[in-house]
């Protein structure tokens, strides 16, 4: 019983933690992102197009973003490079925290530092541009971040350095990030933007959240499988109890009746028995789940949910008590188990004592 509850509880805890995690990630995204496309492939955009966006009522800010991936051949790893202008305000708080990057310097994350150290780059790194020339970038310091990053290989540098590494021209940027302060206007503004930029891909944050939810919510694949298994096992136990007591238990009840116990007493004894068993297994199961998920970080179970879509990297599960989940599990296990123990005992107890003992 407890193992079952533990399994179910763990899956529910993990799914809740993931929901919190991707909500947190999504909160750093801009409301609308405009990516230019050529032949339906992502391309770059001129940063002065931002002025057209600012003319739209409802748009509270629009910033050009320079970012991309750099493949480091020797380590076979991709670095995520984020370029920033020192005085622009970006939707991602990571870019707004780290200020004052010197020219031709960069801030790197722990993961990047480790890789560079392994390859003997301690104070600087040489980026190889597409025409073969080398761009030397000094490592200024480690990234100052408060929380664990989704992608641990991040480098932040000045916008013009990033543009040089990607071989962008001076006004060329990766995409435009738009913030719409009034949430009820986002869809409307997105429509206006699509008319203004007919060949661009306009992605809305809300659609992204729906996508994440569909991947990680309770109704989809992995969770469903686990649920079905646990419920099935649970109901086998219940069925076993309901389909009648075995002869030993009938004998027990018969003796009690012979001793003078009334039906009500037998039932209340059975009730206490069922209550104690189910409550105990519930508490044991929940605590096991708590320890497994929050203290040990759910080693094997988490991988089932994470690896398929590669959207959320490895993350630390934050402790949170979700009363909804806990009460759901309680209502599913305890009353049903109690009912399953009482009903057959009631059936038996109402027979005459001598009938039972036969």
């Amino acid at each position: 019983m407890s193992l079952l509850i533990a399994l179910l509880a763990s899956t529910l805890f993990i799914s809740n933690a993931m929901k919190d995690e991707y909500n947190k990630i999504i909160s750093t995204y801009p409301d609308i992102v405009i990516t230019n496309q050529k032949a339906l492939r992502d391309s770059t955009i001129d940063e002065n197009e931002v002025n057209k966006l600012l003319a739209i009522e409802g748009v509270s800010s629009a910033v050009p973003r320079v970012w991309g991936n750099y493949y480091f051949l020797n380590a076979d790893k991709k670095f995520l490079i984020l370029g920033k202008d020192e005085f622009e305000t970006y939707p991602n708080p990571l870019l707004n925290e780290n200020l004052d990057i010197k020219n031709h310097s960069m801030l790197i994350s722990l993961g990047v530092k480790k890789i560079l150290d392994d390859n003997y780059y301690h104070n600087y790194f040489n980026f190889i541009e597409s025409n073969g020339s080398i761009k030397k970038m000094q490592i200024q310091s480690l990234l100052n971040t408060k929380e664990s990053l989704k992608n641990p290989l991040v480098i932040i540098m000045n916008k013009d350095d990033a543009q040089e590494i990607f071989q962008y021209s001076k006004n060329e940027v990766t995409d435009l990030a738009v913030t719409v302060v009034n949430r009820s206007e986002v869809a409307f503004v997105a429509t206006k933007i699509r008319i203004l930029f007919p060949s661009a891909k306009v992605s809305i944050k809300k659609d992204l959240r729906v996508f994440y939810e569909n991947v990680y919510n309770l109704r989809s694949g992995f969770f469903l499988t686990v649920f079905i298994i646990t419920f099935f096992t649970f109901f086998i136990i219940i069925y076993d109890k309901v389909s009648g007591l075995n002869s030993e238990q009938r004998y027990e009840i018969g003796i009690l009746k012979a001793l003078g116990w009334r039906v009500g007493d037998v039932l209340s004894a059975k009730l206490y028995e069922g209550l104690i068993v189910s409550l105990f297994s519930y508490i044991l199961g929940i605590s096991m789940a708590f320890i497994y998920v929050y203290l040990l970080n759910a080693p094997y179970l988490k991988d089932i949910f994470l690896n398929n879509y590669d959207l959320i990297g490895d993350f630390k599960i934050v402790f949170s008590v979700d009363y909804n989940t806990l009460s759901l599990l309680f209502l599913l296990s305890v009353p049903i188990y109690i009912a399953a123990t009482i009903i057959p005992s009631w059936r038996v107890a109402t027979l005459e004592a001598d009938e039972v003992m036969r």
Partner: protein, 224 residues
């Protein structure tokens, strides 16, 4: 012919030299949404202790920022942003109101609804002695206002597009649009007539009213 060419050259030269420092022609939207926030950031980060109030014209301010560098080394884009910010915003010191935030248990004074579920629609009336009343939308606020016109210090509402706090008495309201507030049909507030007009056209509004044109009868009509 010769003098004609020289005079043309001279004219071009003066035009160019004037435009080097002249106040740049940038649309108001771009200024509000991009230039001023950037300028504010630069000012807060780099102009500590610099005395910038002695400049009487935009050109002198700009050339001083470029040559004397009281705020450090800035590229041209940043210098333009900073000088525009200082000239248009900082030196004018226009009155800005703080964001209207409410606590979790705040209720509308008129209809009793909890306000924290609809933060974009919160409006407020302040009295000089410090009493404040919060409302859930413009309808409730107007109902209160028509019954208590005396002694009010400010009436604050949030502009629909930017959610900035604005003085309701200078605002414009659009009636009959397809945007509903938490209490149903609403008057939607805007900080200027231009955004009110755009809203009216896009959301099928019926009419724009200034604060003084709103009547009690109009507000009651919205309750159908």
């Amino acid at each position: 012919m010769f003098t004609n060419k020289i005079s043309k050259l001279f004219f071009l030269f003066t035009l160019l030299s004037v435009s080097l420092f002249a106040y740049p022609q940038i649309s108001q939207d771009v200024k509000d949404k991009k230039i001023y926030p950037m300028g504010e950031k630069i000012y807060n980060a780099k102009c500590k202790g610099a005395d910038l109030t002695q400049f009487k014209t935009y050109d002198t301010l700009f050339s001083s920022l470029q040559k004397d560098k009281p705020c450090g080394d800035l590229n041209r884009k940043h210098t333009v942003a900073l000088s525009l910010y200082l000239w248009d915003v900082k030196f004018k010191n226009a009155k800005t109101y703080k964001k209207l935030t409410v606590s979790k248990d705040a209720k509308c004074q008129v209809c009793g609804m909890f306000l924290h579920g609809h933060p974009n629609w919160v409006s407020r009336i302040n009295y000089p002695k410090g009493e404040t009343y919060n409302f859930d939308g413009m309808k409730c606020m107007f109902k209160f206002y028509f019954n208590n016109k005396e002694g009010i210090k400010d009436i604050l509402v949030q502009d629909y597009y930017t959610l900035q706090t604005i003085n309701a008495r200078k605002a414009y309201f659009v009636v009959g649009s397809d945007v509903y507030g938490p209490m149903g049909y609403e008057l939607v507030p805007f900080k200027d007539k231009k955004s009110a007009t755009i809203f009216l056209l896009e959301h099928n509004g019926k009419k724009i009213y200034s604060f003084d044109e709103v009547t009690e009868h109009m507000v009651r009509n919205l309750d159908r």
